[in-house]
Symmetry: C2
Subunit: 394 residues, 2 copies
Amino acid sequence: MNHASVTSLINRRTLLRQWSAGALGLMFVSGKLPSAFAADESRLLVHSKAPMNAEPSLPDLVRWWVTPVESFFIRSHGNTPEINADSFRLSVEGLVESPLMLSLAELGRLEQHAVTATLTCAGNRRSEHSRIKPVKGVQWREGAIGNAKWRGARLSDLLKKAGVRESAKHVWFEGLDAVDDGGKTFAFGGSIPLEKALLDRESSPGALLATTMNDKPLTADHGFPLRMVVPGYIGARSVKWLSKIVVSDRPSPNHFVADVYKLVDEGTLLEVAESGPIYRMPLNSAICTPTAGAALKPGRVEVTGYALPPGVPGVSIRKVEVSADSGRSWTEAKLTSMTSEFCWQLWSAEISVNSTTKELIVRAIDSRGEAQPEVVRWNAKGYLFNAWHHVPVN
Amino acid sequence: MNHASVTSLINRRTLLRQWSAGALGLMFVSGKLPSAFAADESRLLVHSKAPMNAEPSLPDLVRWWVTPVESFFIRSHGNTPEINADSFRLSVEGLVESPLMLSLAELGRLEQHAVTATLTCAGNRRSEHSRIKPVKGVQWREGAIGNAKWRGARLSDLLKKAGVRESAKHVWFEGLDAVDDGGKTFAFGGSIPLEKALLDRESSPGALLATTMNDKPLTADHGFPLRMVVPGYIGARSVKWLSKIVVSDRPSPNHFVADVYKLVDEGTLLEVAESGPIYRMPLNSAICTPTAGAALKPGRVEVTGYALPPGVPGVSIRKVEVSADSGRSWTEAKLTSMTSEFCWQLWSAEISVNSTTKELIVRAIDSRGEAQPEVVRWNAKGYLFNAWHHVPVN
């Protein structure tokens, strides 16, 4: 490090302290953002407005491989902050040689990459868990999933710029939202292993600092002006309103890493302490048309839906199968979209139904030959429901 | 903290630094220990001598509910240190109000508790994994398990004496052995959540600082003069030759917590980083007599074995079932030992065999109604194999 960069480092650190101490309030503008930034509720089923949690209808969801922003599920844990893009700064700190404090313009000068990636909530299909035994939390149907084109700098490039120290193992993310939980108010946080952050290949970055979604600036609900996008991982790791990155030797102690997003039987404190954070999304699939309760005429019926690969680098969807006779026989679906490791796969199948058909079922098989499980173990927080999807029909 | 304890604290810290820096060598006596301390290899199948890894034959194993030391499996990762009990000290450090440095005599002045608990290696039954696809590591049969009566101070009492700070979440253990791995030499280490360390009930401590095994001093192979015993957890957390306890806000960075004892599909660095450490042992069972390849006469045959509850507080074995017709019909076994949450359950069943009988199968059901799985997912490190146990017979 030369003299100039040492001075610059000191200045950055001074700035950082000042910013951490009191600048947060300055970053919220007092007026409302234009209405184009608000969720288009006419196209979403709103589970709650504060925080905003909403999902599209299933037929709407699979109309496009790249989900329009208006049909993209929204998962928030606190308020939707209104952020002034001009005064916004991203700080990079922790186990780095040079802590950084970057404006959006400075981030924009890093090499920009576009990547199409599917995000899905760890609680997608929670309502199906709740049919086994009620689970608290947003009762997501099968629509807490969407596929978008994101653009921005690679996290790995930013980390290279900051210089990651040898002892680094995890990267923490923190948003500018304010979550109320257990009598405390704090920012939502996520964390990913450094290995994931650095997993860059031509087609797919480990993680992207996204400023656009489908070629437009992020909307407020989707994290304006900056969000992480971590392909293959549960949506909770793709932190919205991203303002702080901390490089560390361990996962973030943020409540949403240390306690919340974990697979536990009963949810005792001991179990939570014994369980690691969830990262990858599981192999999954759902029927989107026809919808539950549809009246089908005997004969050939078109069934459509999505399938999701398991968040493992290089693993995609190999096959989707649909059954109209409770799993006795299966019809292979036609894959109707691009096949990509961290994107959903749309599919359609023509299947014969008759007067005895009570339900349609779908299951997916990945490129390793692993099949989606017929049933899943109930868990206290209702995460990663990925059993075969059943749709009752008449 | 008063003046006296501050002085005492400083002295302890000074001692601790001196001890950490150079005293390790002093703690090993130069002569050999009496032969009574060595493994009785005549009763054990020795997989390797350096490090010592050995297991009993299955018929020997289930002769007693409390396993004799001579029939107790030995799992070591490095040398078997020979430790001078007089100069031995246990240090307690990290997030505590008063770091401690205790002799065995001082540990003996803490309230002493006896507890019977089963230890089992996370790799028990690994050879069955290897039949699906070879896995590296000690090729354990079904004998890397044993049940013993341990005596010593409760870890929770020691932690109360040291005064655990509010930010504490995990407790690290470190032995006096020297493990060679990846070009480095270091002590074996374990780690448990603080919740587990403090989980004390009348019948069962969260974790015990054991100095005796079946009412005799620990043998060198089993950790003389001091080992952790963590009921319900994989044996790797019951660190032998225990010399250091560190209270921390996170799991130990020791290789055997951070990297080794994890469930991973392929074992890539990314997968290892995405996976939390294994703590609990899983619900399991094995047939110990007759043994594989036994020639059975048609008629009634006595089958015996063990079953292991799943390491969840309050959960024990409810039922053990044996099949002689490849799982078409099941005979309920008689539970022949005490039933206890963190101890194995011995059982015996009388079952009819005929000329078509090709194998015997056992499966266990726990007190929550959960059944041992018919098959398990192969994993790259060969841990937690707990599928139904099949024994081919003639």
